[in-house]
C-alpha cells in the first residue's frame, strides 16, 4: 500500500495491527501519570487465547523448543564439532540411521547437528535484524507521530519509498554493492523492515498525542521527551511486539533465501538456506541433505507466524470479542 488513503479494512496479515484499538488497552489514567497497564488482565487474555487458539499455542510451544535448541546446540547436538569446521569424508552422504538421525552431508557432517546449530544462525539474524529495524522504526515513528505536520509527512513518504522495494530484492542489491557478509545481510534486511515499525509507531503516537492526559501534561510543562517516554512508548509496546513476532517468520525466510543464493553466511557456518543450496544437486539421490534443513526453515517460520497471528488476535480488543 504505497500511498493508499487511509487503511479502511481490517488489518492486513503483513501490515501493522489496528493501533488505535491496541492503544486502548492502556486503562484510564490520571493527570500526567503513566498509563497503568493491566498486566494481569493481559496475561489472562493470553491464557484464554491459548486455550481457544490451538494453533497459536502450538506455535508458542514450537518456538520455545526452537529457542532451546539454539541455546543448547553445543550440548544437545550428537556431534557438536560438526556444527563447525569438522569434516569426515569417509562418512559422506550416509542415509538417516540410528547414528545419524538426519543422515550426513557431502563432507560427512551430521545433518541433525548442523540443523541444531543452524537455529542459532537464523535466530541470531532474526533478532539482529528486527532489533535494528524496530529501534530505527520506532524512533522515527515516535518523532513523526509526536511532531506531526511536515515532519510526519516527510517520514511517511520515505517509508512509502522503502516499502516499494521487496525485502529480498533490496537486500540482493545492497549485498552486491556492499561486501557480501552476515553484517550486510543484517543491515540490508533491517533497511527493508524498519518502515513497518515507523508507520505503526507513528499512528500509535499520533493517537496518543491527541489524548487529554498528554495535552494536560504538555500544558503543565512536562518536557516532550518525558511525555514520549511515559506515554507514547508504553502504548506502542504491544503492537510492536505483535509485529515483531509476525515479521520474524518473514526475516527468517528472506535470510534463508539470501544464503541459498550464496549471499551472506558462508560454510562452515551452519545455515539452513546454505545447506539447501549445497545439497540441491544431490536431491534426487540423497533426499535427506535438502529435506531436513528446509523443514527446519518451514517449522521455524511457521512457529513465528502462527504465534504472531494468535498474539494479534488476543491483544486486539476487536479480535477478543470474536
Amino acid at each position: 500500500m504505497t500511498a493508499s488513503p487511509e487503511p479502511a479494512g481490517p488489518a492486513e496479515p503483513a501490515g501493522p495491527a489496528e493501533p488505535a484499538g491496541l492503544a486502548g488497552l492502556a486503562g484510564p489514567t490520571g493527570l500526567g501519570r503513566r498509563p497503568a497497564r493491566p498486566l494481569r488482565l493481559l496475561l489472562r487474555r493470553l491464557l484464554r487465547t491459548a486455550r481457544a487458539d490451538v494453533l497459536a499455542a502450538a506455535g508458542a510451544v514450537l518456538l520455545l523448543a526452537i529457542v532451546a535448541c539454539a541455546l543448547l546446540a553445543p550440548w544437545i547436538a550428537p556431534y557438536p564439532e560438526d556444527g563447525g569446521t569438522a569434516t569426515h569424508p569417509t562418512e559422506a552422504l550416509l542415509p538417516p540411521s540410528a547414528d545419524h538421525w538426519f543422515g550426513t552431508d557431502q563432507v560427512g557432517r551430521d545433518i541433525l547437528s548442523r540443523v541444531l546449530f543452524g537455529a542459532r544462525t537464523s535466530l541470531f539474524i532474526a533478532v539482529a535484524v528486527l532489533g535494528l529495524a524496530a529501534a530505527a522504526g520506532v524512533t522515527l515513528g515516535v518523532v513523526a507521530g509526536y511532531a506531526g505536520g511536515w515532519i510526519r509527512d516527510v517520514i511517511m513518504r520515505v517509508t512509502d519509498v522503502f516499502l516499494a522495494f521487496p525485502a529480498l530484492l533490496l537486500s540482493l542489491a545492497l549485498a552486491v554493492v556492499l561486501q557480501p557478509s552476515v553484517t550486510t545481510v543484517v543491515v540490508a534486511l533491517a533497511a527493508t523492515w524498519w518502515p513497518w515499525y515507523a508507520r505503526l509507531t507513528a499512528s500509535v503516537a499520533q493517537s496518543v498525542a491527541t489524548r487529554g492526559y498528554v495535552d494536560a501534561a504538555r500544558c503543565l510543562g512536562v518536557p516532550a521527551p518525558l511525555i514520549v517516554f511515559r506515554h507514547v512508548l508504553p502504548n506502542s509496546a504491544t503492537p510492536v511486539a505483535v509485529q515483531l513476532s509476525l515479521d520474524a517468520g518473514g526475516v527468517i525466510l528472506t535470510s534463508a533465501a539470501l544464503s541459498y543464493l550464496g549471499i551472506g553466511v558462508h560454510d562452515p557456518t551452519a545455515e539452513w538456506g546454505l545447506m539447501v543450496q549445497q545439497g540441491q544437486t544431490l536431491f534426487t539421490t540423497d533426499w535427506w541433505v535438502v529435506t531436513f534443513p528446509g523443514l527446519a526453515i518451514l517449522v521455524t517460520a511457521f512457529a513465528f507466524n502462527v504465534l504472531g497471528e494468535g498474539l494479534r488476535q488476543a491483544l486486539d480488543p476487536r479480535g477478543a470479542t470474536r
Binding site: 500500500m1 516499494a164 470474536r322
Partner: protein, 338 residues
Amino acid sequence: MLRYLTRRLGQAVLVVAGVVTLTFTVMRLVPGDPAVAFAGPRATPAELAAARERFGLDDPLWTQLWNYARDLAGGDWGTSLHTRQPVARDLTLAFPASLELVGAALVVAVAAGVPLGVLAARFKAGLPDLSVRFTSMLAVSVPVFWLALVVQTVFAGNLGWFPVAGEYDSSLDRTSPLTVYTDITIVDALITGNWPVFTSTLWHLALPALVVAAYPAGVIAQMTRAALIEESGQDHVRLSRALGFGRTAVLVRFALRPAAGPVLSLIALVFAYAIVNGFLVEAVFNWPGLGRYAAASIRSLDTPAIAGVTLLVALLYVGSNLLVDLVQGVLDPRVRTR
C-alpha cells in the same frame, strides 16, 4: 473522483521520485570506480577519462541524479556490464516470462485463496476454519526455493508427471514456430492458436506457478477470512440474514463485495513480492525470466543491470498499488464519489 485521482497520482509520482533517488544512492555506494568497471582493469588513463566523461562521473551529484532520472524517463536504463546490451532491452526480453509465471501464479492463488477464505469464515472456529488456517500458515511459511526443489524432484523427477525445467519444449520451435506479439509465450500461443506450444507451455508452467502461488494463496485466504469475519459483524450482513438468506449466501453474495477492498490491496502488495519470489523459483526451473537475468547480473557484479531489475520491480509495485486503488474506485461507490 477526480480529486481523489489527482491526489493518488501525485502520491505515486512522489514515491517514484523517491525510488529513483534511492536506487541512484545505492548505486553510488558501490566501492570502486564505475569507470574502471566499464573500461576494464587494464584500461589506459585516456580510456578511463573517456569512460568518466561518458558517464558524467565528474559532474556534481545533483546533476548526475538529474541526468539519471532524465535518462530513465527517456528509456535509457544504462548498459549492462555482462551482456553489453542496453539494460532496458534486456529487461523487456526477460520480463514477459516472469509476468507469465507470476500472472499464472496469482490466478491460481486467487482461485484457491478466496474460496478457502470463504470456507474458513463460514465455519469460523470449526474444523474447516482450523484446517484452512493451518494450511495457509504453512503456505506462507514454506521457503519457496526449497518447495520448488521438492516439487520438482517429486512430480517432475520421480513421478515424471511434469517436465523438469524450461518454458516449453524447444523442439516445437521447428515443428510449430510461434509468432510473437506480446512476448508472453502462453498468450501468443493462445491468440495465434498454436496449440502444441500452448499445451507445452501450460505443462511447463504448472509446477513453478503452483510453487510461486503458495505464498499469495496463503495470505489471500487469511485476508479473505479476516475481511469476511469483520464484515459479518456489520449490520447490513445481519439485515441480509433477516431477509431470508442463508449463511453461505450472505457471505458470498453480500459480504464478499464490500470485503474485496482489503483483499485487492493485498494482491497488489503481493504482486511485486511474488515476482521476486519467482526469481528463486525461476532459478530452480530454469525459467527464462527476470530471475535468471538478475542471477547472472549478481554473479558478474553488474551494477546497472541490478539497478535496472530493482527499479523495475519497485515501479511495478508502485504501479500495481495505483492500479488497485483505481480499480477500487470503480468497484466501491463510496470511493467513486469522493
